[in-house]
Symmetry: C2
Subunit: 80 residues, 2 copies
């Protein structure tokens, strides 16, 4: 089980912004953004939430668990 992400897609396709702009918006360096996009860094939950908030979506939409065959692991969200 590993962590994967769809950050680049969100940034380019849904946000239409540069790494620099996203970095400034969530309070990190551009190199941090690319390191996350390239899977070199795992972001803190704090940063993941700020990124999710920026894109008006949930953490699970951008960052997700994958199994040994790179399949997205999903679970039902119950209660609230």
């Amino acid at each position: 089980m590993k962590l994967a992400n769809d950050l680049r897609n969100f940034r380019e396709k849904r946000g239409g912004i540069s790494q620099e702009a996203l970095a400034n918006a969530v309070g990190v360096s551009r190199q941090t953004i690319i390191s996350i996009e390239k899977g070199r860094f795992i972001p803190s939950a704090f940063l993941a939430l700020k990124i999710a908030k920026f894109f008006d979506t949930s953490v699970e939409d951008i960052f997700y668990l994958i199994d040994g065959q790179n399949n997205k692991i999903r679970w039902r969200v119950k209660w609230k």
Copy 2:
């Protein structure tokens, strides 16, 4: 803006399990769990997702952003 969490409530009230049991379930040490509950550590997104999955809920249910007056910051999740 800071990170807060409701982990203890989830663990005790909804899970009815000890810190040790949760720690084992998500693959960290018990001290890590209490450090998160007490706000001493900010978990990685990877760990936050594993914890959310364990409780069949979303990251945002357990971990959330708060403002200067400790109010929960919410945003609407759009698209999917």
